[in-house]
C-alpha cells in the first residue's frame, strides 16, 4: 500500500482495562483458563437503554467502542465506516441455530438472525450516528481488520478526509469448545503471563473490539503514522523472510503476535532471524488469540509511539527497550495462514 495515513483517535474494549483510564499505569489482567474475556464497560452512557436491551454482547462492544473512538477523536459524524470481524455475533448465530431446532422452525424471533449478519454492527453505528457515507464489512479471519484498514487507506487516497475503522470479535463458551476440538487452544491450563514460555500446540483464546479514526493529514493529536502495510497469504517457504526483509530494513521496536503455539512458532523465528538486534514486545498475553487481534496490536503500537513508553505492568518481564521509539514494525499471523506486517512511525 502506497501513501500514509494517520491514527487520530482510538478506543478499545479488551481483556485489559483499556476502555477508560491510563493504560500506562493499568494492572495486568491474567488468567489460567486459556480464555481471556473482555472487561465490559458500562454501555449506558453510549447507547440508549431500550436499544441496549435488544443487543447482544459483541454488538454492544463494537458499537460502544466505535462511539468512544469518535468521541475521543472529536469527530461528530463519521465519514466512511469500515470494519472487520472473523466471526461476527457468535452468540446470535448459536442462538438462531438452536431456536430453529428447538422450535421446529416455527414462531421464530428474527432478532438473532438479524444480529448474526456480519454487517449489523456497521449498520448500527451508521444508524446511531446518522452516517450515510461508504460502509463496508470484511469477514476474512486474520485478514478481516486488515482488509478494513486497506479499504480505509484507499478511501483516504481517494480523498476522504477521515474514516472510522475497526474490528470486533467475541468468544463464547460453545465456540471455545468447538475450536478446542481442532487444536486451536493449549490442552494444558496455561497462565497467560507465562504464555511465551509454554511452547506447545495451540494458544489461548481472546476477544476484543478496537476502533480507530484514520486521516490523511497529521495533527497535534495524531498517535502514529501508518507508513507501510503488507498482507501475505499462506507464504511458501522463504517467502515470509524475503517479504519481511523487503518490507523494512529498520525499526526501533517490533510488536509481534507471538502466542506460544508451537505449530506456527517458526514464522516468528523467521522474524527473529530477520531482525536479530531489534527488541520485541509480544501482545497476545494481553488479548489472547482471535481473528482480529491485529487491531489490538496496532492500538498498542500506536499508544507506545505517542507516549514513548510501554505500559509497565503489562511488560514487566521485558526490560531492554530503546530510549526513543520512532518506528515500530508490527507483525502478526493467524494460524499460519494470514500474515500481516505494518510499519508505524512517530508523528
Amino acid at each position: 500500500m502506497k501513501g500514509k495515513c494517520y491514527i487520530q483517535g482510538m478506543a478499545a474494549i479488551s481483556p485489559q482495562p483499556t476502555f477508560e483510564g491510563d493504560i500506562f499505569s493499568a494492572p495486568l489482567v491474567h488468567t489460567d483458563s486459556n480464555l481471556l474475556a473482555c472487561i465490559e464497560p458500562d454501555y449506558k452512557p453510549f447507547v440508549p437503554g431500550n436499544s441496549l436491551r435488544r443487543m447482544t454482547r459483541v454488538l454492544k462492544m463494537g458499537l460502544t467502542t466505535a462511539l468512544k473512538c469518535l468521541q475521543e477523536s472529536g469527530v461528530a459524524t463519521p465519514g466512511p465506516i469500515i470494519t472487520g470481524t472473523g466471526k461476527g455475533s457468535l452468540q446470535d448465530t448459536e442462538r438462531f441455530i438452536k431456536e430453529i431446532e428447538d422450535y421446529k422452525e416455527t414462531a421464530l424471533n428474527p432478532t438473532p438472525f438479524i444480529q448474526s449478519t456480519y454487517n449489523s454492527v456497521n449498520g448500527l453505528i451508521a444508524l446511531q450516528q446518522k452516517c450515510t457515507a461508504y460502509n463496508n464489512t470484511f469477514v476474512h479471519r486474520g485478514f478481516s481488520f486488515e482488509n478494513a484498514l486497506l479499504d480505509s487507506m484507499m478511501l483516504i487516497q481517494e480523498g476522504e478526509p477521515h474514516t472510522l475503522t475497526g474490528a470486533f470479535e467475541e468468544i463464547t463458551a460453545e465456540h471455545f469448545y468447538i475450536k478446542s476440538r481442532i487444536g486451536y487452544w493449549k490442552s494444558e491450563s496455561t497462565d497467560s503471563r507465562e504464555l511465551y514460555k509454554h511452547l506447545s500446540p495451540g494458544t489461548i483464546a481472546g476477544e476484543g473490539a478496537v476502533f480507530f479514526t484514520l486521516a490523511g493529514t497529521p495533527t497535534q493529536q495524531s498517535y502514529a503514522a501508518i507508513s507501510g502495510f503488507k498482507m501475505l497469504y499462506k507464504p511458501v517457504p522463504g517467502k515470509l523472510t524475503a517479504t519481511l526483509k523487503n518490507f523494512t530494513t529498520h525499526a526501533d521496536l517490533i510488536v509481534t503476535g507471538r502466542n506460544g503455539d508451537s505449530n506456527f512458532e517458526h514464522y516468528y523465528q523467521e522474524l527473529d532471524n530477520c531482525f536479530p538486534d531489534t527488541p520485541q514486545l509480544p501482545f497476545k498475553h494481553l488479548c489472547g488469540e482471535y481473528d482480529t487481534a491485529g487491531a489490538f496490536g496496532l492500538w498498542l503500537s500506536a499508544h507506545i509511539l505517542k507516549a514513548q513508553q510501554v505500559p509497565q505492568q503489562w511488560f514487566s518481564m521485558f526490560n531492554q527497550l530503546p530510549e526513543h521509539i520512532n518506528s515500530i514494525l508490527f507483525y502478526n499471523h493467524f494460524y499460519g495462514e494470514q500474515h500481516v506486517m505494518i510499519l508505524l512511525e512517530r508523528v
Binding site: P110, F113, T117, C131, Y233, K234
Partner: protein, 404 residues
C-alpha cells in the same frame, strides 16, 4: 487519471443454468428456476419455493473438477464451478501468469453444511470426519478453498454486507485496480441455500409462498435462491498489454448506507436514490443514457416501494426500462450482485432486456411498471445494477458497453 476497469471474463452457476450460456438460454426462454428444494432439511421443503441449483453436491464436485472430500461445502463448490468458468472465459489458464487478486462475498459461509452437523460438533460424545467441517463455519473458508484450488496467492478478501456483498466485492476490486495495486482482480460471491437463512427471512415474514412477484401490487415477499458468480476485472493498461477481450466496462459504482433501520429501507428510497445517483455521476453518463436497470426488486413489500420511489425521484417521468431477475434466480443474497452484474453484461452483449416474470398489477404507490416480455435486438449501452441489504448497505453499479 485512474485506470478504466474492464470486465474480461464471466462465470456463473444458478438455478437457471450451470454456466453463463445456460443462464442466457433460460433468460431468453423466460424459464424460471423457482421450485421446491431437494437438498435443504426443512419443514418448508414443499411450502416455500426456492431457486435451487439442480445439482447434488456430488455432482458439483465433478463440475468443480475436484475429488469428493470432507470440508468442501456447497458454498465452496458452487463458487469453484463459477470461478473455473470465469477464468476459462477470460483465457486465464494460470492465475499466476499475472498478479491477480480475489475478492469474494458470502453471507453465511458454509452454514449449508455446518447446520447439518452443528449438534454433533458441540456434542463431546460425537467424533469423526465431520470435525473437518468446523472451520467451514466462517465466511473465509469458501474463499480460501477456492483460492487454493485455482492458485490465487496475491490479495484475497471476503466481504459480507448482506445482500449487497458481491456488488461491494466488485467495487473493492475495481478500486484496487484504479489505485494501481493489482492489474487483475476476480470478484463476485457465492451463496448456498440454508435452513438458517430460509428461517431467518421467514421469521421476518419476508418470504412468499408463491413464486415471487417483484413490483406487483399483490407481492408478499421474496424467494431465496443459491448460486455463485465471478467477474474478471482488468485495468486498461493490462488489457492492452495482454490483448484481453473486453466484454463491458465497469464505469460507475457507489456504496452508501441509508442509516434508516436495521432491516427496512426508507419509504422514499433515500439510500437507493443516492447509490444510483452517485454511481451514475461517476460513470459520466446522463440519466437519458441509461438503457436498462436491473433492479434489486426482491418483491418484499418494503424494497419495491422504496426502490420504485427512488427510480421515480431520480428519473422523473422518464424511468428507463427496468426489471427484476429474481423470479429467475431467486434472491441469492451474497451472490446476487455478481449474478446480476453478469446479466447486465449479457444484456449489453446480446441486446436483450430481460422480463420481470410474474408481474400482473401495477403497485398503487408507483406510476411505473417493469418490463414483462423479453425484448430482443435492443441496443443496450448503460445498465444500472442495484443491490440493497440489511444494515442499510446499498450498492449500485453502472456497467457500460465498451466503445473504445
Amino acid at each position: 487519471m485512474a485506470e478504466r476497469v474492464f470486465i474480461t471474463g464471466i462465470g456463473m452457476v444458478t438455478a437457471i443454468g450451470d454456466d453463463v450460456a445456460g443462464n442466457l438460454q433460460n433468460l431468453r426462454l423466460q424459464r424460471s428456476g423457482l421450485g421446491y428444494s431437494s437438498y435443504i432439511d426443512t419443514i418448508y421443503k414443499n411450502v416455500l419455493p426456492v431457486a435451487e441449483v439442480k445439482r447434488s453436491s456430488e455432482s458439483l464436485f465433478e463440475m468443480a473438477g475436484i475429488p469428493v472430500r470432507e470440508g468442501f461445502t456447497r458454498t465452496t463448490l458452487l463458487g469453484l464451478v463459477a470461478m473455473r468458468e470465469a477464468l476459462l472465459h477470460a483465457g486465464i489458464t494460470d492465475v499466476q501468469s499475472a498478479p491477480t487478486g480475489f475478492i469474494n462475498a458470502s453471507t453465511v459461509g458454509g452454514m449449508c453444511d455446518t447446520e447439518k452437523l452443528y449438534f454433533d460438533i458441540i456434542n463431546p460424545e460425537k467424533t469423526g470426519l465431520f470435525l473437518q467441517y468446523i472451520d467451514t463455519l466462517d465466511c473465509a473458508d469458501c474463499t480460501q478453498r477456492i483460492a487454493d484450488a485455482v492458485g490465487f496467492s496475491e490479495h484475497i478478501a471476503t466481504i459480507s454486507t448482506a445482500c449487497s456483498s458481491s456488488a461491494n466485492a466488485l467495487m473493492f476490486g475495481a478500486r484496487m485496480i484504479k489505485q494501481g495495486m493489482l492489474p487483475r482482480m476476480v470478484c463476485g460471491g457465492t451463496e448456498a441455500l440454508t435452513r438458517f437463512t430460509l428461517n431467518g427471512f421467514n421469521s421476518l415474514k419476508n418470504v412468499d409462498k408463491q413464486f415471487c412477484r417483484p413490483f406487483d401490487q399483490q407481492r408478499t415477499g421474496l424467494n431465496l435462491g443459491e448460486g455463485a458468480a465471478y467477474l474478471v476485472l482488468e485495468g486498461e493498461s493490462f488489457v492492452k498489454a495482454n490483448n484481453s477481450r473486453i466484454l463491458a466496462e465497469l464505469t460507475g459504482y457507489c456504496n452508501t448506507n441509508e442509516a434508516f433501520h436495521p432491516t427496512s429501507p426508507s419509504p422514499e428510497g433515500d439510500g437507493a436514490y443516492e447509490a444510483m445517483k452517485a454511481a451514475l455521476a461517476m460513470s459520466g453518463r446522463t440519466l437519458e443514457e441509461v438503457t436498462y436497470i436491473n433492479v434489486h426488486g426482491t418483491a418484499t413489500l418494503n424494497n419495491d416501494v422504496s426502490e420504485g420511489k427512488a427510480l421515480e425521484r431520480l428519473f422523473g417521468g422518464k424511468v428507463p426500462l427496468f426489471s427484476s431477475t429474481k423470479p429467475f434466480t431467486g434472491h441469492t443474497l451474497a451472490a446476487a450482485g455478481a449474478i446480476e452484474a453478469i446479466f447486465s453484461v449479457l444484456a449489453i452483449q446480446n441486446g436483450l432486456i430481460f422480463p420481470n416474470l410474474n408481474f400482473s398489477e401495477k403497485m398503487e404507490e408507483l406510476n411505473i411498471t417493469p418490463v414483462t416480455e423479453l425484448i430482443e435486438g435492443y441496443p443496450v449501452n448503460n445498465v444500472i445494477s442495484n443491490s440493497f441489504g440489511f444494515g442499510g448497505n446499498n450498492a449500485s453499479l453502472v456497467i457500460s458497453k465498451y466503445e473504445g
